[in-house]
């Protein structure tokens, strides 16, 4: 009897790596990673080390700080790039209907998972190797210890494994790549940062916040200690990381088979329909009042708009009311609490509201981006676009009708913003700035009556309620459509819904995040003419941030001011929104002008639908003619 030959091979890993090597995207991502890393390091080194001293000898030993910067950026790289790379691992197979074929092979579930994991980790490790020249540069300055290098390698590897396992779990559970990506990011944010942070506050422990985040563990155990940590201690600190990785990996195995053939389902729709049932039952028992009766209608003259409004979850009136209430309730609550507690706390700004505002911006930008980028790309993915394009509706009409549904969502989100803007304007504009109120507030906390006025004066000096309100309203009125049209444009140019959503989100994050981070850099601040403030305004986030923190003064606010003089501040606001308004106009005009081409059909060369010459040709039953 022949004994079976034992062969060790990694067919899936080989296939994945070969596939990745054949894709242009692999190289684009790698180049982007390298460029971002090197650019960020240059900015760090320039502002942190190289420009702060005139004596070259004082740079000796600065290598440690540089090394820490490099390691920190590598951690950010893992959190940013690895989810985008790993979330496709199993969902791509599901979307291509090839997972079943994979499961039918002799590869076991564990083998599939390990090889999929390796196929994502190997490219990530090659990304990290890109920093070797930078580390060599830092090493030449001295100050680094070998335990730091080993500690960094250990925790970077563990963090990569942990994040990859989490993403693999989400990929095994979700039906689509977009779902896996969003859930991996939200879960990661919650598990690595929010939950340990809350636990740390509750248990008053500094260890808790660092428990699951590799970056924080590295900072505490290696970066700040100053001496080599015993291997036993290092291992002890690593237990939560390893434990969570094993849990994620086991859950991936659990979901792999159970969710292999999961049907796509719309979670939001399910929740809304469940709520509908509850309300109907309540109404049937209580004979309750129906605030909004929505009758089934049929399309009249704008079919696409009708479908967007009558059939999409985020556009139906009763659902919009629910979304509004879900968002407005916490916003309103925070505003009321902040306004009512002002009197005793005597702070200059309504600081509690600002984080809510930024959170609302993040949620709103996410909703608008995902919705807008899916408008056309989802039709393409479902193969319904060609049929629509064969109708006499123009591409411009299709796009405008599509956007109509999204406009409703933007109005609802805008209403929540209005609550915040009105609260802040009211506080600073009337209640907050009256001398009597400030004096009372200062006295209440034990300061002399004059203190309130003195304390508030610098902030209020630069503050203008009208300017704040106008700039805030313009930010909603211009940035929202800008984000929507930009995402729609990307959706028009991409073939799949996944690419459209991820591409739009990546562009938005890169635009706002990078310019904002660069704006904080001393390197940018040191550039002649540009300056921190103007650089900030090169992304929409800059104006939102400066307006919220009244950062228009020369020495007040969050960072160095950008302008002098009240009128000039108005000019900056007007100029900023005029530029973004122009950008919005250009993107919108381009989408509408080239709508047919973007949608994938022929454009009419002549404005008239059917020229007379052609009609005559038909009537006279003559040979075909080239019309026009």
């Amino acid at each position: 009897m022949k004994t079976p030959k034992i062969s060790i091979g990694f067919p899936l890993l080989v296939k994945e790596l070969t596939e990745a090597a054949a894709q242009r995207r692999t190289y684009l991502v790698r180049v982007s990673y390298a460029m971002l890393l090197f650019l960020a390091i240059v900015l760090f080194f320039w502002s942190g080390q190289l420009t702060t001293t005139s004596n070259p000898f004082s740079l000796l030993g600065a290598g440690k700080r540089m090394f820490d910067n490099i390691v920190e950026l590598q951690f950010y790289g893992i959190y940013l790039f690895l989810p985008a790379m790993t979330c496709t691992a199993l969902t791509a197979e599901k979307e291509r209907d090839s997972l079943a074929l994979l499961l039918l092979t002799r590869l076991g579930p564990w083998t599939i998972l390990v090889e999929k994991l390796m196929s994502r980790l190997i490219p990530m490790f090659t990304f990290m190797l890109l920093s070797l020249p930078l580390m060599a540069f830092a090493y030449s300055f001295g100050g680094m210890q070998s335990y730091q290098i080993w500690g960094a390698i250990w925790f970077l590897s563990l963090t990569s494994l942990q994040v990859a396992a989490l993403c693999l779990m989400c990929s095994a559970y979700c039906r689509t790549t977009v779902g896996a990506y969003l859930s991996a990011n939200l879960l990661g944010l919650f598990l690595f940062f929010l939950a340990p942070g809350v636990a740390g506050v509750i248990f008053r422990s500094s260890r808790w916040p660092a428990t699951f985040s590799g970056m924080d563990v590295y900072t505490i155990t290696v970066d700040r200690v100053g001496t080599a940590l015993a291997w036993g201690d290092l291992f002890q600190w690593s237990i939560p990381l390893m434990f969570s990785t094993i849990i994620f990996f086991c859950l991936s195995r659990f979901f792999l088979l159970r969710r292999a053939f999961a049907q796509p389902r719309h979670l939001l729709r399910k929740i809304f329909r469940g709520l509908d049932n509850v309300f109907w039952k309540i109404n049937s028992h209580s004979g309750g009042v129906v605030l909004v009766g929505e009758n089934a209608t049929l399309p009249e003259d704008k079919p696409v708009q009708w479908r967007e409004i009558a059939k999409k979850n985020l556009s139906q009136f009763r659902y919009l009311v629910r979304i509004f209430l879900v968002l407005e309730f916490p916003v309103g609550l925070v505003c009321i609490v902040a306004l009512t507690s002002r009197g005793v706390r005597a702070s200059t700004q309504l600081r509690e509201v600002s984080p809510i505002l930024f959170l609302l911006w993040i949620i709103s930008a996410l909703i608008v981006t995902v919705q807008a980028s899916s408008l056309i790309s989802s039709e393409r993915s479902r193969q319904t676009l060609d049929v629509l394009l064969a109708t006499p509706m123009s591409g411009r009409e299709i796009i405008l009708q599509k956007m109509h549904g999204l406009r409703r969502v933007m109005w609802v989100l805008g209403a929540c913003f209005l609550t915040i803007f009105l609260s802040e304007t009211w506080w600073y504009g009337s209640a907050g700035i009256t001398p009597a109120a400030t004096t009372t507030a200062a006295t209440a906390v034990g300061f002399p009556p004059s203190y309130g006025t003195t304390f508030r004066e610098p902030f209020l000096y630069y503050y203008s309620g009208a300017r704040y309100f106008v700039a805030s309203m313009l930010s909603v009125l211009i940035y929202f459509p800008l984000i929507a049209w930009l995402a729609l444009w990307i959706g028009l140019k991409t073939k799949t819904q996944t690419r459209a959503i991820l591409g739009s989100l990546a562009l938005l994050v890169a635009w706002c995040g990078l310019t904002f981070a660069c704006g904080r850099s001393d390197f940018v601040a040191s550039l002649p003419v540009v300056g921190t403030g103007y650089f900030d305004l090169s992304s929409p986030l800059g104006m939102i941030y400066r307006n919220e923190y009244n950062d228009f003064g020369t020495s007040q606010g969050v960072s160095a001011g950008i302008v002098r003089g009240n009128w000039f501040r108005w000019l900056v606001v007007a100029g900023n929104f005029a530029c973004y308004g122009l950008l919005l106009y250009l993107i919108r005009a381009r989408c509408l002008r080239d709508a047919d081409r973007y949608l994938g059909r022929r454009q009419d060369h002549a404005p008239s639908a059917r020229p007379a010459a052609v009609r005559n040709a038909e009537l006279q039953d003559v040979q075909p003619v080239a019309a026009g």
């Binding site: 079919p303 319904t384 064969a390 109708t391 006499p392 022929r602 059917r610 075909p624 080239a626 019309a627």
Partner: protein
């Protein structure tokens, strides 16, 4: 006048030439079958006619209107059914048809009766309130046919309408297409099910690697290919030299004696099947069985194509 006229059409996807210089002429009321292996360029040609794809060279007219200049005018006159059925899973059949009736700008007053008519024609009246997503594949195809008929187009462009259907659904679709043919619609239909195209089409075009290898009526194509008819004959008793006489008949290529029959290969353009029958009787043969083998499109297709793709 021709409803479709294509002259020297060239379409490329980057460096790949999907269609290379094909010409087609389809008169009004004709059912034109478009046959070819996968990747031959059938869907590409249909998409050009549906104004969804730009061509590189050549001229394309629909109802005498130049496709490249007035695509919007053409969209009013065509009904396009792609080779897949994209579903709006949130609509019912009624909403789906009303949606496209509005898209085709059919006056609101007429919509209800038109939709009723097309649903009756496609035998879907009982499914009017069913979600599109819940219909069977055959019903979805019929619903798609109902959709393309809403605006009463002159030309129907049907790309693989019977692909993926079970035998019953396929027969239903075929019968529906025959009905449309009787209504005088001009139809351009691509399909892999050659037998059914043979029953339905007045003319066919066979395309391979973007080039038209043959087109015309079925008879014309058989003649073009010099395909011979094989006639199987059983004679009662001994043949008594009849076989030798038959070999002398003009148009008879060969006469093979098999265990239970004689197989005669015949050039029909020289001697028809009926004349052959008379000739055997004249020679004194007592015919027990006379069976001309059906010439099918599969034979023609296999002879004309080599299975190559772009």
């Amino acid at each position: 006048m021709s409803v479709v006229k294509i002259e020297n059409l060239w379409v490329s996807y980057g460096s790949l030439h999907a269609v290379r210089g094909i010409s087609i002429d389809i008169p009004r009321g004709e059912v034109y079958g478009f046959i070819g292996p996968n990747g031959a360029g059938k869907s590409t040609t249909i998409k050009v006619l549906a104004t969804l794809l730009r061509h590189d060279r050549g001229m394309v007219w629909v109802n005498g209107i130049d496709v490249s200049r007035y695509p919007r005018a053409i969209r009013d006159t065509i009904g396009y059914m792609p080779d897949f059925f994209g579903v709006y899973d949130d609509l019912t059949a009624k909403e789906y048809l009303h949606f496209f009736a509005a898209a085709y700008r059919i006056p609101q007053k007429k919509r209800k009766s038109i939709i009723q008519d097309v649903l009756e024609l496609t035998d879907l009246t009982h499914k009017i309130d069913s979600p599109v997503d819940s219909l069977s594949r055959g019903m979805k195809q019929r619903l798609a046919l109902a959709r393309v008929l809403l605006h009463d187009p002159d030309l129907l462009l049907l790309d693989e309408p019977a692909s993926g259907l079970d035998p019953r659904a396929r027969i239903e679709v075929r019968e529906l297409l025959k009905e449309l043919k009787n209504m005088g619609k001009t139809i351009l239909i691509s399909s892999h099910i050659l037998h059914e195209l043979g029953q339905l089409c007045t003319r066919i075009g066979i395309i391979e690697q973007g080039q038209m290898v043959a087109q015309g009526s079925l008879d014309e194509i058989y003649q073009q290919l010099s395909l011979m008819r094989v006639v199987h004959v059983q004679l009662a008793g001994q043949s008594n030299g009849i076989m030798d006489h038959l070999r002398e008949v003009p148009g008879v290529e060969s006469v093979d004696e098999q265990i239970d029959r004689i197989s005669i290969r015949l050039h029909e353009d020289e001697t028809s099947v009926e004349d052959l029958h008379d000739e055997i009787c004249r020679l004194g043969g007592r015919i027990h069985m006379f069976q001309p083998e059906a010439m099918d499109m599969e034979t023609a297709f296999m002879k004309l194509t080599h299975g190559k793709t772009n």
